[in-house]
Symmetry: C2
Subunit: 448 residues, 2 copies
């Protein structure tokens, strides 16, 4: 099919556009709705999880900042439109509509870093059906990934208490998911990441010194340590388990002196190793040399090392794979729509067995008692009427198509710490259990 | 730190460069090796899995084509170098070295789509230590992700037998991991994907018609079906479980006639539903209307529907999360190096408890018996000496820095089908078990 119709605006090539990071059915629905005259009906979509991953006590909102960038970049340029028309995915009128597409509606969301619970409406998108349905796939991709990683990271950070965590999972996940994972982990309390692009793009602090290959490259472990110390200084972290840990620690302190920054242990029984290395370091006078442990750690492994003389943890695989829950199971559901572009909204819901949806646009309030502890997640189709300590949870992110909710990453990180501090103590148990804050649904009648 | 040293070549901005999709320690090792004089030692790194995910019978190589693109794009431009120097990650001599970096070594690999087993050396990288160590993170990110998805996809394709599989997991994973997942699934036997960018970038066929929101948008299910049929034609797939399946199927055939392409069921007991919908379609004369089922399917769910009248499966979450194994646990290990740039290579290995590596550069041969069935994965540090039916498994991918192993995606898809056909029948069991082909390690002495 040749694409010859003249265009109102000059087509541009969008190098990093996000519009095709989308399921085909969003565009076939658009085309059918344009034809049936329903595309301009007003619509409200909500993003929520029907449940948390099995046994989890809370979820963590992450990805909001990335989603706002993706919405701004969601434009159909020349390459996108040529692909779509040449392959018969959309017809010419739909291609013309897409050419001028720019989201012009509103988005509200739980603020990034906040906790969420089952049925929490963490994102609310309002616009015409046509413009809002197109954002379904990208919104879910970003939030499902980033929330899954942040939710796992938060448990690890709680387990680590005040010991710093290094995110080092880049090699175990897709190369761009790695960057988003580092960002999500930082929000949830990790101190640093190994990922350089996360450093450049998001300002996440980076860390890293050397791998076993560096030791193997040199004629001896001593030569390797000398080379690293000469380049990175005494405050570096030397990896001591390539051959024999005891000998390596002796060599390390001999070369660097007691001001050696840290040693890293990546194998063996980490608790046992940490104790013997601590004793050895102390006996050599290296009282301030820290011990960093890495190697298949997850939140349980971290917690098991609480009594060991460990000064920091590196976490890879379990972090980037959500520690058993690699996706947050968030869905994007139409909950209200109008009969005409100017008519009032009314609730809609499907009745699929096992997957019903609850119609009507929601508000959400975290109910907080007099001691500052959350005791309920109130989700309502009515007016929320928050009490004096309660927190209204939806904040404006996009208004009339303009992003209004952008904030520094540090704000999300601080918000997460505050949101965690507000949860009841049961939230921080690693064992499987019910959500730490129950969701109370109040049907308040239509508020559209 | 201000970056003022004059440069030999003009710096460029690399919009989609891959060089910072890298762990910081690759660059700190580079800096230390440049300083210690070991950076130019020749080195061989190998990528392999110590084991397959628990119970899996085989793994599938995927990501090779993406890795070749990433190696070509692995250049340090202005933005990358400014970030690295301004943040004290590398010193000025290292930045100057990086500015001229272009991988000039050799890469061999198992061909994309082929199967692999524990210790299979699926990628071999030879170059100076400096140039080869820099590729560690990006190589592992791409291969760990894509192999994990392809390995899960292959099991699903075997379970589905000759029924087509639609990949529809984009919304459950990172937005760019989604594109790579669609590509990996196609290699492993999926017929189509919902992901439009995978269609544009890699030519994977795309599919998709409508979601529940499209039905809810309209005044009635009848109106929605009319709209979809008007736009997409009778061959479309109508989603029939928004309200009442039996009524929806009746309406669908009433509107489209017996040439309706397909109906999709996304909830409930899919086997029971498929049988009753088949009966109803047949009773309405719609004998050729297909039934597509979706909704939390994995390879076990697909296999359980083998006797149900189902014509196609849509798979989302379990595909993009590797069906319980979201990463392939591949590692990138230095196995040989020289003492000087011109000296012969010699094997090196670490001795970390539980994670030892096997020194020496490997060759690999799949041993095939007279009936065309694989019976051993021979991995050797010696000369392989393949028998008449055996397959030598490492093919050249990069020679002197030039990509020589690029091929159409279809070639990888066809290779996978052939590689699966060669495995013993036990490979196709979904139950947990040992690798279908045992790895035999033969120490053949140095062949460097």
């Amino acid at each position: 099919m040749v694409h010859t119709v003249s265009r109102k605006v000059p087509l541009v090539d969008l190098g990093d556009g996000t519009a095709l990071l989308t399921d085909r059915y969003e565009l076939t629905m658009l085309q059918a709705a344009l034809r049936s005259g329903t595309a301009d009906r007003r619509a409200v979509f909500e993003v929520f999880a029907r449940s948390l991953p099995a046994g989890r006590r809370y979820g963590v909102v992450a990805g909001t900042g990335r989603l706002l960038d993706a919405i701004e970049a969601f434009r159909f340029g020349r390459a996108e439109l040529e692909y779509l028309t040449a392959n018969g995915i959309v017809d010419e009128p739909t291609a013309q509509w897409l050419e001028n597409y720019r989201f012009s509606g509103h988005v509200w969301g739980y603020s990034e870093g906040d906790c969420y619970f089952p049925e929490s409406p963490i994102l609310v998108v309002e616009g015409t059906f046509a413009e809002a349905v197109l954002l379904e796939t990208i919104a879910l991709s970003i939030l499902n990934h980033d929330c899954a990683v942040a939710s796992a990271a938060s448990r690890m950070a709680q387990a680590a208490q005040d010991r710093p965590l290094i995110e080092m999972g880049s090699r175990r996940t897709h190369e761009h998911a790695a960057v988003a994972s580092a960002r999500a982990a930082y929000i949830a309390g990790f101190a640093t990441t190994s990922n350089l692009e996360a450093g450049r793009r998001y300002g996440v602090p980076t860390a890293g010194t050397s791998a076993h290959s560096f030791t193997l490259l040199h004629d001896s472990e001593r030569h390797a340590f000398e080379a690293q110390l000469a380049s990175l200084g005494e405050s570096t972290t030397l990896l001591v388990d390539t051959y024999d840990v005891e000998r390596a620690v002796r060599t390390a302190v001999e070369l660097a002196g007691p001001s050696l920054g840290a040693v890293r242990i990546d194998s063996g029984d980490l608790g046992v190793m940490a104790r013997s290395v601590r004793d050895q370091l102390d006996s050599l006078g290296a009282h301030d040399t820290r011990i960093v442990v890495t190697g298949d750690l997850d939140e349980y492994g971290i917690a098991a090392l609480a009594a060991a003389p460990v000064n920091g943890y590196g976490v890879g695989t379990s972090l980037v794979t959500g520690s058993g829950a690699p996706t947050a199971s968030l869905v994007y559901k139409l909950v209200a729509r109008s009969d005409t572009p100017s008519a009032p909204m009314r609730p809609v819901a499907k009745r699929s067995p096992g997957k019903p949806s609850r119609g009507g646009r929601k508000a959400a309030v975290r109910r907080i008692d007099g001691r500052g502890t959350a005791y309920a997640e109130m989700v309502t189709t009515g007016e929320p009427a928050p009490g004096p300590n309660d927190r209204v949870l939806l904040a404006p992110l996009v208004r009339d198509g303009e992003v209004v909710g952008r904030e520094p990453l540090q704000a999300a990180r601080e918000r997460h710490a505050a949101s965690i501090a507000e949860l009841p103590p049961t939230a921080l148990q690693l064992s499987k259990g019910e959500p730490a804050v129950p969701t109370e649904f109040i049907d308040g009648g239509p508020r559209h």
